[in-house]
């Protein structure tokens, strides 16, 4: 079995998610696909899964041009995809999940539970998984559930197996077990496409490593020849040129935030760092490294188990974001649609949300005063909207992000947490947001920045803390650090 993708292009509303890429999968071979966020990995998986039709290009299966119009046609071509989020029904048994929708029936047309369990045992044995087919899925660990997902794929006769970040939420033992099984399946003649952020893993199992960057195919190197430096270089490639690097001349300001040995079991351990006024500290790390969790704990949105937080030298324990806000902290959350904005309400109401007390007297909102604040930030941040009474839902992503930022700035914070401040924002708005951050920092604001865009992190941060699997992997105290160094530490 051989699957070859050639000249595949796929655009979403004008942006090319895939631009003339190729990919080669062969029976008995593991092809590892690597690339940064936005490289086009998920899109290519969706093309193979039949979820997206490419705009142009061809898919050849065993030499024959094939069109995968929907997931069913993908399955008919013996392709199985295991997505990052598991798609199991939690409250039913392992065997029922494995044969979901295709349960074996006995002569009487009733469910043949015994036969189903036996068959399930057979498949689980094939991948060396020691799981009782009668167990309820929700009682299994994430690692075991992952194996059930694979068994589910194998319950049908498949020739191509695609795994999207399968080890992202697994412990090391479970991850190693999974890698062993993937190798075993390869030896049984299945073609494997393995997508992962963890380079160590990639080198452990890859026959070939394919690199995508910004939706383009960069290259494919044999697994045994590839070196980490080479792969990282292929992944990051582009020059840092398109984001202006800020060089701040700064004298050491006051220490406003000190974090000591902060630990939240299962999320992050022993996190310590300082934040001074007038500087940006960047938190680098892969998805799942614990960056957002740390920020949320510092902000009082989540609890933590041990460690201490000092704000302006005083020990603080926030039980609610309102406590943190009172101490001059503000947060621009990760996902503006679900955490930042109240969709369906006006730009004005959204900006005023954090300063309701400030703009009211005896509980009554002072309309003029409130409007003045909103208009002020609308001008300063150049928020493009017909009127401040417009539903925030009708604004573009960049302008919505500016509304969230305006709300935080209007609260007049001394410490600002920015979680992915430019995610899903166009280049122009991103540059503007960068300028705003820079200006605020010049006015002695202290910023803790989380961003998956390493270039952004490097450009804006004075210092960088690199996280890996919930722990600090390293700290860089100047901005001269290279992207490769950070990625290497984060992905190790």
């Amino acid at each position: 079995m051989e699957v070859i993708l050639k000249h595949i292009t796929k655009s979403f509303s004008g942006t090319k998610a895939l631009d003339d890429v190729e990919l080669h999968l062969k029976g008995g071979e593991i092809n590892c696909l690597v690339g940064e966020n936005g490289a086009g990995k998920s899109t290519v998986i969706k093309v193979l899964a039949g979820a997206h039709m490419p705009d142009s290009g061809e898919i050849r299966i065993d030499g024959k041009i094939t069109v995968l119009r929907n997931p069913r046609e993908s399955q008919m071509n013996k392709i199985a995809v295991i997505h990052q989020e598991l798609l199991l029904v939690p409250e039913v048994s392992v065997a029922e999940n494995i044969f979901l929708g295709d349960w074996p029936k006995g002569k009487t047309h009733f469910l043949d539970r015994k036969g189903m369990n036996e068959k399930a045992s057979g498949i689980l044995a094939r991948i060396g998984a020691n799981i009782n087919p009668r167990s309820i899925v929700s009682s299994l660990s994430t690692g075991e559930q992952q194996l059930v997902e694979i068994a589910k794929a194998l319950s049908k006769d498949i020739k191509v197996l695609i795994l999207d970040e399968p080890t992202a939420s697994l412990s090391e033992v479970d991850a190693n077990n999974l890698l062993r099984i993937v190798k075993e399946l390869k030896n049984q003649g299945i073609a494997v496409l393995y997508v992962s952020h963890r380079l160590e893993e990639v080198f452990a199992i890859a026959d070939k490593v394919t690199v995508f960057r910004d939706g383009k195919y960069i290259g494919c190197v044999p697994g045994q020849d590839a070196t980490k430096d080479e792969i990282v270089k292929m992944m990051v490639g582009r020059e840092a040129g398109n984001i202006e690097v800020r060089h701040r001349v700064k004298e050491k300001g006051k220490k406003v935030l000190e974090v000591n040995h902060l630990t939240s079991r299962g999320m992050f351990q022993d996190i310590s760092f300082d934040l001074y006024e007038g500087e940006v500290v960047g938190l680098a790390g892969l998805v799942g490294a614990g960056r957002t969790e740390i920020v949320r704990a510092l902000y009082g949105a989540d609890t933590y188990d041990s460690g201490e937080i000092l704000v302006n030298g005083k020990r603080r324990n926030f039980h609610h974001p309102a406590d943190a806000i009172r101490e001059g902290i503000s947060l621009v959350p990760e996902d503006r649609k679900t955490q930042g904005l109240v969709l369906g309400q006006s730009v004005e109401h959204n900006i005023q949300l954090g300063i309701l007390k400030k703009i009211s007297s005896y509980g009554m909102i002072q309309k003029k005063q409130g409007r003045a604040v909103v208009e002020d930030y609308r001008d300063k941040l150049r928020i493009k909207t017909v009127s401040v009474e417009t539903d925030v839902n009708s604004l573009s992503g960049g302008n919505q992000q500016k509304v969230v930022l305006a709300r935080s700035l209007a609260m007049d914070p001394r410490i600002l947490f920015l979680d992915e401040p430019t995610r899903g924002v166009d280049v122009g708005a991103r540059e503007e947001i960068h300028k705003l951050i820079d200006e605020a920092v010049k006015n002695r604001l202290a910023v803790l920045l989380v961003s998956s865009d390493i270039l952004e992190l490097l450009a804006l941060s004075d210092r960088i803390v690199v996280l890996r699997e919930g722990q600090i992997a390293g700290k860089f105290n100047d901005h001269k650090v290279s992207k490769e160094e950070v990625i290497k530490l984060a992905a190790n």
């Binding site: 949105a301 609610h320 679900t338 930042g340 109240v342 949300l353 309701l356 009211s360 009554m364 909102i365």
Partner: protein
């Protein structure tokens, strides 16, 4: 810039705001043609008096529904406040104003219980208030011994017996409640928070709003309104009864939803609720005047609710598509 908005969008917005007005207008015109007794001073005054209690209940429920919750207990809380207050006044001889204060306190306590169970234990509001509805009704039966408690003190009846510009005092009092509720929802920081919590509890929390406190307050207001409705009902019926307010929660929720408040939270107005109350009251009035069997009252109300819910679902869909 304003003209860029599509015409159909503008028309939709106008219909959205005026829709209920138009429905009411058509209803009133049709009724006046069908029965001459409809458009009489007497009937209209009756209609107003009849809608006062439903209106008071609905104002409270509006707060809860805007937070994204629901309050099924208002009918029973109305009854329990009335029963306990009247028992104190009539059976134990407390002065009337103490009885009234206890009534209001009972409503507030039930509201706090509802709100706390919803926020602290994350029990769905439907279940919490279903339970307190049953508990409150049980307490009513205990206190009333399944018999009416009366008569009400003389001083109470001033609300129904004195008139200002030909309209009973009770109507004016409820009009004042409406104005207070309107100011509270649209002019205060608290009101803003209520909308924010209903629109996105998470976003509101991250912006520093103490969402649990806001939700408890909303249920408290609902309980208080139910207790006030209980007082008004006691005055109108001149006694507290075991079956007082039975099933009125459905009318109150219907009025609020018909008035354009979204069951998914974050949207709704006092004006809408008032119009909803008038429409629901009109339906009963019409059925009564036309001599249709009373069972039809419920059927027509049901249809009205479905139409209102359809309009709401439609609005939500349009809202989602526009982004």
């Amino acid at each position: 810039m304003q003209q860029i908005k599509t015409k159909s969008g503008q028309l939709g917005q106008i219909l959205d705001k005026m829709g209920l007005f138009l429905v009411l207008l058509v209803f009133i015109i049709v009724m006046s043609v069908l029965t001459p007794s409809f458009l009489t001073w007497n009937n209209l005054r009756n209609l107003l008096i009849q809608s006062t209690i439903l209106c008071t209940l609905s104002l409270g429920v509006t707060f809860v529904i805007i937070t994204g919750g629901i309050d099924l207990s208002v009918g029973s809380v109305e009854a329990v406040a009335s029963a306990i207050g009247m028992a104190l006044i009539v059976k134990t001889g407390f002065p009337p104003f103490v009885g009234v204060l206890v009534m209001l306190a009972v409503g507030i306590v039930f509201g706090i219980i509802n709100g706390s169970l919803v926020t602290q234990f994350r029990i769905p509001p439907m279940i919490v208030t279903l339970a307190t509805m049953s508990i409150a009704r049980g307490i009513v039966l205990v206190f009333t011994n399944s018999a009416n408690i009366g008569p009400v003190p003389r001083s109470f009846t001033v609300l129904t017996s004195s008139y200002v510009i030909g309209i009973p005092l009770i109507v004016w009092v409820v009009v004042i409640f409406c104005i207070i509720a309107w100011i509270c929802l649209s002019k205060t920081a608290f009101g803003r928070s209520v909308y924010a919590v209903g629109g996105s509890e998470l976003a509101a929390k991250l912006a520093g709003i103490r969402t649990k406190r806001i939700i408890i307050m909303a249920y408290m207001i609902s309980g208080l309104c139910a207790a006030i409705a209980g007082l008004l009902l006691t005055i109108r019926l001149e006694s507290a009864g075991p079956n007082a307010g039975d099933g009125v929660e459905m009318n109150a929720i219907a009025a609020v939803v018909v008035g354009g408040t979204s069951l998914s939270g974050g949207r709704g107005t006092v004006l809408g609720t008032v119009l909803g109350v008038i429409l629901i009251s009109l339906v009963s009035n019409a059925v009564n005047l036309l001599g249709v069997p009373p069972a039809w009252d419920k059927i027509v109300k049901g249809v009205v609710i479905i139409i209102a819910a359809l309009l709401d679902a439609n609005r939500n869909r349009i809202g989602k598509r526009s982004r």
